[in-house]
């Protein structure tokens, strides 16, 4: 048994402790934010924010996430009341297929939470391991900058 605190709620699940956190989130809890992309920690699609850090949940065993504060994309806001960074992506129409948005938005948010005055180059470095294969990059950076400007430092 493992207890996970996800988006403010505790869930006790009967799982092999080696199970990657991704499967607990996307299958046991049926969350749609975190997604399987590669299973190797190389693309970012599975990202969740775990104790303030953008974690690759496809290579994070549930045992190591137990008791920590886990936030997924749906934990930030809803379509009706999106979080400011989600709103910035909507306003910039910064997606095509949208599959990578989970990793892009959460990686950017976790980084900017700790580095609100980060330069463009620093943000770029923070996203160096995130993939968008539709290559909506220009709009995504525009959205991230829009969010960064709007957030009080």
């Amino acid at each position: 048994m493992v207890t996970l605190k996800v988006n403010g709620r505790a869930h006790t699940l009967d799982l092999d402790p080696a199970t990657p956190l991704l499967y607990a989130l996307s299958d046991d809890l049926e969350l749609r934010g975190p997604k399987f992309g590669c299973g190797l920690g190389q693309c970012g699609a599975c990202t969740a924010i775990v104790d303030g850090v953008a974690a690759r949940t496809c290579v994070t065993p549930v045992s190591s996430a137990a008791g920590k504060e886990i936030i997924t994309l749906e934990g930030l806001g809803t379509a009706e009341r999106p979080h400011p960074i989600q709103k910035a992506f909507i306003d910039e129409q910064a997606a095509q297929c949208g599959f990578c948005l989970n990793g892009v938005i959460l990686s950017a948010k976790a980084f900017l939470d700790k580095n609100p005055r980060a330069t463009e180059a620093e943000i770029q470095r923070a996203l160096s391991g995130v993939l968008c294969r539709c290559f909506t990059h220009a709009r995504m950076y525009a959205a991230i900058q829009r969010y960064q400007k709007a957030v009080p430092k």
């Binding site: 949208g98 160096s128 220009a138």
Partner: protein, 768 residues
């Protein structure tokens, strides 16, 4: 020709079938492969010639539209919703669009090939249906109100009478919940674009908020009651066949439900995904040795030595003499590797096969072909297979969507329960149908004034498999493992071209394109020959965004730059001198103007041979000859010490006919430009003597989000008087040549092999 190359060459005619049945598109060449398919009678879909198949009005006045062209991330569902809202004069939000469900929507064959815009936004199919519905509503209102049609006005779903403001009737009152019982009226008039208030505007995508907040349901998120999870076990090397499976090796593993073996197909089904993954890893499977693979270093040379099926696209039969008499002749060979679709999310499908009935949730681009070929692999009647499109990760062509749909169906049939399958990263990348590799030789002659007098293009491309189409499930890996053969390859000599057809862009833009006495091309050069050799591939191949068109254009537009340099001419001016198509000329000039193009020959004078050198490059294309137009200028900086190419800026001019959604078009142009840059600069399938070795994001080199994104400026050219054309594949087609041309402008060194990696650039600079 291989089935693949045949597919690449004929793709357009094939894809147009659904439209052609109603619209009668001109079709040059043979009877399209789907002439007997893509028809409601066989696919079980609502008939495409009936208005009820396309448009329904609810009692509340809401409009539901049904389309056979699906949303893959390219924004076409938004544009289709705009189209229907515009033609029916209802607010955008009051239209619901349902697409690609074999039981509910008209059969429009594949969503691919830059065909959704031309097929549904001109004078047939969805556009004609909406126009027919508007005219039908006006006629009904005329009778109801006793007013002549020409005095009626439509606004927000209500029809009013100009002469009497008190007389008005809503769509809901006129047609709500009722059948139209009308055929599409080919004389129904589209609303003139000058009156558009919804179409042609930058309407935001209605799916954006759900995607940004983690609420959107991708096929990966489909959960059915009692659903199990499957995992496949692919052969370890190319050509291996199954010898035995030791089911004891996984006995007692938690959650394991079943091991499934069928011919060469092996898979497992478990209660949970992680359990299925572990069972698949632990299952002991004996495979035969592989068939071995040719050395990658000798690959391009080997292509010309294989038996081939040959196609002549144009042949003026005088190129040898004209070249011999030319003042100057040039010859260059261009090489383009196999590349992957490489979807961010590995492919996924959910199937529920119960007895003699099957339901499939699939991200396939061809639900009707999944229905017919799915029935074949399941041994069921096609009418008992229901396929519902559910969006996956962006596909860019034939990624693993079709093959994983077969995986899910077979495993569900074996388990008797709904089964979800998502491929591993390696299974996706090692076995997907790659974009074709090409070896292209260009030869041309210049006269004493530096004008091109003859152009020969000879190309070799290997193919294996393709989209499954109506009846060839063996065109993808799962179908083959299940015992179905891929489309056969048979060598054959070229026949003289019978009609001008440039939908593979094999014919350079600068030749006349004379077939059968008339010039179908966009250029001026009259002595011309284009010969394509299709050969067998060891790897699966299939359409990848701008198939053949991108590789041919890389060769044509790089070679055009070589010719311009040889003639000491400015590359834009030199192109214009050999073009006679106004739309192609306009995008070329549009990009050059936006970039403040300086008229001079390449290479740039005064650049040093060490350190950073800056340069600019240009390229253009008439996509498929006449299905969209793009010109591009790229600015690069080449670090001559490391060979690293940094793209600084790109200016993309694009013409897709009347602009349906400028923001959507811009998004496609920007994304196409950057995806093209990734493909041009890093992406290449690699292999050893047995198997593919580019199987993850460390070994297959996509540009990540963290690279220096160049500033992209789009010039959108609106052509309200023209037909709607393709839009999503034009920008990507011209990038590789523009970058290679810019490197030449910066350094004086010509690169003829993709990708333009730092090592390759450095080696070329050192050798120069």
């Amino acid at each position: 020709m291989t089935a693949e190359a045949q597919g690449a060459l004929d793709r357009r005619g094939f894809l147009k079938c659904a439209g052609a049945l109603i619209v009668g598109f001109r079709f040059a060449g043979e009877q399209p492969a789907c002439a007997q398919f893509g028809q409601a009678a066989l696919s079980g879909s609502p008939p495409g010639d009936q208005l009820d198949s396309w448009i329904a009005v609810g009692a509340d006045g809401r409009v539901t539209a049904f389309s056979g062209k699906e949303e893959l991330g390219q924004g076409i569902s938004t544009a289709q919703q705009q189209l229907v809202a515009e033609e029916l004069s209802v607010p955008f939000e009051r239209v619901t669009l349902i697409y690609c469900d074999t039981a509910r929507t008209p059969d429009q064959a594949y969503t691919s090939g830059s065909q959704s815009h031309p097929v549904n936004f001109n004078h047939a199919n969805l556009a004609l249906a909406a126009a027919t519905a508007r005219e039908a509503l006006l006629k009904m209102a005329s009778q109801r109100l006793g007013a002549p049609v020409e005095q009626l006005t439509l606004a927000a779903g209500v029809i009013g009478w100009k002469g009497d403001a008190s007389k008005r009737v809503s769509y809901g009152e006129l047609a709500g919940g009722k059948k139209w019982n009308l055929a599409l009226d080919k004389n129904a008039q589209r609303k003139p674009s000058s009156e558009w208030t919804v179409l042609g505007k930058p309407v935001g995508r209605p799916d954006m908020a759900a995607m940004a907040t983690g609420q959107f349901e991708y096929v990966h998120n489909v959960r059915l009651p009692g659903m199990l999870h499957g995992r496949v076990v692919r052969p370890p090397v190319v050509g291996a066949t199954l010898l035995s499976v030791d089911e004891e090796s996984v006995k007692g593993l938690p959650g394991l439900v079943k091991v499934v073996v069928k011919k060469n197909f092996v898979g497992v089904v478990a209660q949970k995904p992680w359990q299925a993954i572990q069972a698949a890893e632990k299952l002991k499977v004996n495979w035969s040795a592989g068939a071995g693979l040719p050395k990658q270093s000798e690959f391009y040379d080997s292509l010309a030595k294989q038996p081939s099926r040959d196609t002549l696209m144009v042949d003026s039969k005088d190129t040898a003499q004209t070249l011999a008499a030319a003042a100057v002749t040039l010859k260059s060979t261009y090489l383009h590797p196999y590349q992957m679709h490489g979807s961010v999310g590995s492919s996924c499908a959910v199937a529920d096969v119960q007895g003699d009935k099957a339901t499939l949730y699939s991200p396939t681009q061809g639900v009707w072909y999944q229905k017919s070929t799915g029935a074949m692999i399941l041994g069921l009647k096609p009418e008992n297979v229901h396929v519902i499109f559910q969006r996956g990760s962006g596909c860019y062509g034939l990624n693993g969507a079709d093959t994983v749909s077969y995986d899910a169906m077979i495993l569900s049939q074996a388990a008797g329960k709904p089964v979800r399958v998502q491929l591993s990263r390696k299974d996706e990348m090692a076995w997907e149908n790659y974009g074709n590799a090409w070896r292209i030789e260009e030869r041309a002659g210049l006269d004493a004034q530096g004008n091109i007098v003859a152009w020969e293009h000879e190309a070799w491309t290997p193919g294996l498999g393709n989209r499954p189409g109506p009846a060839t499930p063996g065109n993808v890996i799962t179908g083959m493992l299940l015992g179905f053969a891929p489309a056969a390859f048979s060598p054959g000599a070229a026949q003289p071209p019978r009609a001008y057809n440039n939908n593979s862009n094999g014919i350079p833009s600068y030749v006349a394109g004379n077939v059968g006495g008339s010039n179908g091309g966009t250029g001026t050069v009259k002595s011309e020959k284009v010969l394509v050799h299709s050969v067998a591939s060891r790897f699966w191949t299939g359409p990848l965004r701008s198939p053949a068109r991108l590789q041919n254009t890389f060769a044509h537009e790089s070679f055009m730059d070589e010719l311009a340099a040889r003639a000491h001419a400015d590359p834009v001016e030199f192109r214009l001198r050999h073009l006679r198509n106004e739309r192609l000329i306009a995008v070329l000039k549009g990009a050059a103007k936006a970039a403040n193009w300086e008229t001079r020959p390449s290479p740039k004078p005064g650049n040093r041979k060490t350190g950073i050198a800056a340069g600019r490059g240009v390229a253009c294309v008439a996509y498929e000859g006449d299905n969209g137009y793009t010109g591009i200028v790229a600015d690069v900086e080449v670090d001559q010490d490391s060979g690293k190419v940094a793209v600084q800026r790109m200016w993309v001019a694009i013409d897709a006919g009347p602009i349906s959604n400028p923001d959507g078009l811009r998004n496609q142009a920007e994304g196409g430009a950057l995806q093209g840059m990734s493909r041009a600069m890093g992406e290449e399938v690699t292999w050893d003597d047995q198997k593919v070795t580019s199987v993850d994001w460390r070994t297959y080199h996509s540009l990540p989000l963290g690279f220096d994104v160049p500033k992209i400026e789009c010039v959108l050219i609106d052509r309200p008087e023209e037909e709607a054309t393709g839009a999503g594949e034009t920008a990507i087609t011209v990038i590789a040549a523009a970058l290679g041309n810019a490197v030449f402008d910066a350094t004086g060194v010509r690169l003829r092999q993709i990708p333009l990696t730092a090592e390759r650039v450095k080696a070329a600079l050192t050798a120069a």
